[in-house]
Amino acid sequence: MSATEAGSSRNRGTEYWVLGVLKWGSVAFFVTITAFPLLYMVSLSFKDISEVLRNPGDFFPSWAEISSLATYREVLRPVEDGGRGFLRLLRNSAVVAVATVVVTVGVGTLAAYAAARLQFFGKRTINTAMVLVYLFPAIVMAIPLFVLFSAIGLRDSLFGLMVVYLAQTIPVALYMLRSYFQSVPIEVEESALIDGCSRLGLIARVVLPLAAPALVAVGLYVFMIAWNEFLYALLFLTQSQELWTLPLGLQQLDNQEIPKTVLMAGAVIISLPIIIIFFVAERFLVEGLTAGSVKG
C-alpha cells in the first residue's frame, strides 16, 4: 500500500470532487433503474391502449384517462360481466396467504422455541434438515406433489395450495424465530420458572409477548411469500378459474387479446398490498431478513 502522492492537499481535493461526482452519478443510476419502471407501470395502467399504440414514447396519462379508471374497472369486474374477476382473485389470494401465515407462525413459534431453548436428542439433525429443505428447489417437489395431490383430490383446492406453502414457509419461520429467541436474554425466563411457572405457561405469558415484534415480522414475510407464489398455483389451479390466485390470474392476462394497459393495472393491484406492507414495516422486515435470510 504505497501512498507516495497521497497526503498532498490538492490530491485530496481532486479525490473529494471525483468521489462526489461518482456518488451522485450512482444515486441517479439506482433511482432511474428502480423508480422509472415503477412510474412506467403505474402510468401505463391508467392509459388508454389506443393512445399508447399511437405514441408509445408518451406514457403519462391525461387527467381524463386517470379519472375514468377504465382499466381498473375492467380488471376488477367479475368475469360474468365481461371483466377479469380480480376481486375474486384478491379474495382467493388473501384467504391462502392469511391461512398460511396463521398456521406457519403458530407451528413455527413452538418449534423455534424448542430449537432455541430446550435440549433434546436429534436437535442438530432437525435444524440442518430444515435449512436443507429451505434451500431445496421447489420444482423438484412440484412433480410428486402434483401427482400425489391429483390422486387424493387435493389438487384443485385452495386448501391443497396452502398445505404446500406450509412446507416452504415453516423452515423460514423456524430459522428466523430461532435466531430471535436466541438473542433474548434467558434470565427473564429463568426467574419465571423459579417462581413456579410451568414451561407452557412461560411460553404463553412471557415468551410470546416479548416476541410479538418478531412474530409480526415473520408473519408479514410469510404473507409475502404466499401472496407472490406462482409455480404451485400454476400447477394446481390452472383448470379451476374460480380458484385462481392473483399471480396465476395475472399470468393468464398475458395474451394477444388483452391490452397491456389492463395487464399493468393487474400488476399494480397485485403489487400494492405488498408495497404497502413493506414500507409500513420496513425496519422490522429488513432486520428479520438479514438475520434469518429469506428465499426470493
Partner: protein, 328 residues
C-alpha cells in the same frame, strides 16, 4: 452472516420434582411435542415426495394414466433417464442454466455491492433511495416480469420507442429473438438477445437482496479501520480494496451460494419472460414442459432429479474448493 450463534443455554437442572422426572426429562418430552407439528408437515411434504419422485422417474407414466398409477408396483425402467439425458439439446440446456445462474448471480452481487457503497454514507434523500432500491425485490415476480415484458414490447414498449427516436433502429423484439445483429464500425457480430434480457432481469430483481446483506455487513465494519487507513494516506480506491472488500468476503461467499442455488433452479422468471424460447431454455422450464407439453410425468421426474444431482455436485465442489471457513 450476522447471526448470533450462541449455544442454547440449558436451564439449571432442578432437583426431581413431584412428577418423578427431572426438569430436563420433562423439557425433552416437551421439546418433541413442540417440534412435532412443524417437522411432520415439512418432512411429510418434502421427504416423502422426494422418495416418490424417485419412484415416478423409474416408470413409464403419462399424465392421463395418473388414475391407474400404482406406487407399489415393481416394474422399473431407466428409459426416462436415457430419454432426458440422451436428448439432443441436453448439454445446451445445462450450459444455458449454468451460464444464467453464474451471470445472474454475479450481476446481482455486483449491483448490490455498488448500491451498498452508494448508500453507505449519509446524504439528503438517502432514506428514499434506500426504499426505492428495495422495490425490484419486493414487487411480486409476476408483476415485475410483465412490467419488463411490456417495457420491451416491440410495438408499444417504451424502450423501443426511445431507441427509435434516438438511433432510428427498427423494432427490436428483445425477448423473442435469439441474437442482435451488431454493426460496430463495420464489424458485424451477433449478441445473444433474449438470454441477455433474462440475465439483466435476474440481476435487477435480486440485487436488492445482496444490497441488504452487504450494507448490513459494511455498517458493522469499525469506522476506525477506515479512519486509520485515511490517516496513513490511503486513497478511496485503496481503502475500498484493502479495508472494505476484505471484510465483505464472508458475506459474498454466503450470498453467492444462496443466490446461485435459487437462480439455478429458478422457474418463474424465465417461464414468464420468454417461456424458454429464443435460446433461454433452462432445466426447470424444461421439466414443466415435459410435464404439460409432452404430458410425460416419468421424464419430468427424471429431469428434476438430474437437476437436484447436478446442484448437489456443484455445491460439493463449491464447499471443497471455493469456500472453506466462511460459509461453515
Amino acid at each position: 452472516m450476522k447471526q448470533r450463534q450462541r449455544p442454547a443455554p440449558a436451564l439449571p437442572a432442578a432437583p426431581a420434582p413431584a412428577g418423578g422426572r427431572t426438569l430436563r426429562q420433562r423439557d425433552q418430552r416437551l421439546a418433541y411435542g413442540l417440534m412435532a407439528p412443524g417437522v411432520i408437515i415439512v418432512l411429510g411434504l418434502v421427504l416423502l415426495p422426494l422418495l416418490w419422485n424417485v419412484a415416478l422417474s423409474l416408470r413409464e407414466l403419462r399424465l392421463i394414466e395418473l388414475r391407474d398409477f400404482n406406487p407399489l408396483s415393481t416394474e422399473f425402467t431407466l428409459e426416462n433417464y436415457s430419454e432426458v439425458i440422451g436428448d439432443r439439446d441436453f448439454l445446451t440446456l445445462l450450459r444455458t442454466t449454468l451460464l444464467y445462474a453464474v451471470l445472474g448471480t454475479s450481476l446481482s452481487l455486483l449491483l448490490g455491492l455498488w448500491a451498498a457503497l452508494t448508500v453507505r454514507s449519509a446524504f439528503p434523500g438517502r432514506f428514499i433511495v434506500r426504499g426505492l432500491i428495495l422495490f425490484p425485490y419486493v414487487v411480486p415476480v409476476v408483476a415485475a416480469a410483465f412490467l419488463w415484458k411490456t417495457m420491451l414490447n416491440p410495438q408499444l414498449g417504451i424502450v423501443n420507442a426511445w431507441l427509435q427516436s434516438l438511433f432510428d433502429t427498427g423494432n427490436v423484439s428483445f425477448l423473442t429473438q435469439r441474437s442482435f445483429e451488431v454493426n460496430l464500425l463495420g464489424l458485424r457480430f451477433g449478441l445473444p438477445a433474449a438470454f441477455t434480457m433474462i440475465v439483466l432481469f435476474e440481476g435487477w430483481r435480486s440485487f436488492p437482496f445482496a444490497f441488504l446483506f452487504i450494507l448490513a455487513r459494511m455498517q458493522a465494519i469499525p469506522g476506525e479501520l477506515d479512519e486509520a487507513a485515511k490517516v496513513d494516506g490511503a486513497g478511496a480506491v485503496q481503502r475500498l480494496r484493502f479495508v472494505t472488500l476484505p471484510q465483505l468476503r464472508g458475506v459474498f461467499a454466503v450470498l453467492f451460494l444462496l443466490r446461485f442455488i435459487w437462480t439455478f433452479n429458478s422457474f418463474d422468471e424465465i417461464f414468464l419472460l420468454t417461456g424458454g424460447s429464443a435460446g433461454t431454455q433452462v432445466v426447470s422450464v424444461q421439466i414443466f414442459e415435459y410435464l404439460f407439453g409432452n404430458s410425460d410425468i416419468g421424464a419430468a421426474a427424471a429431469l428434476s432429479l438430474v437437476l437436484a444431482i447436478v446442484l448437489i455436485v456443484l455445491l460439493v465442489v463449491y464447499f471443497r474448493f471455493v469456500s472453506t471457513e466462511e460459509t461453515a
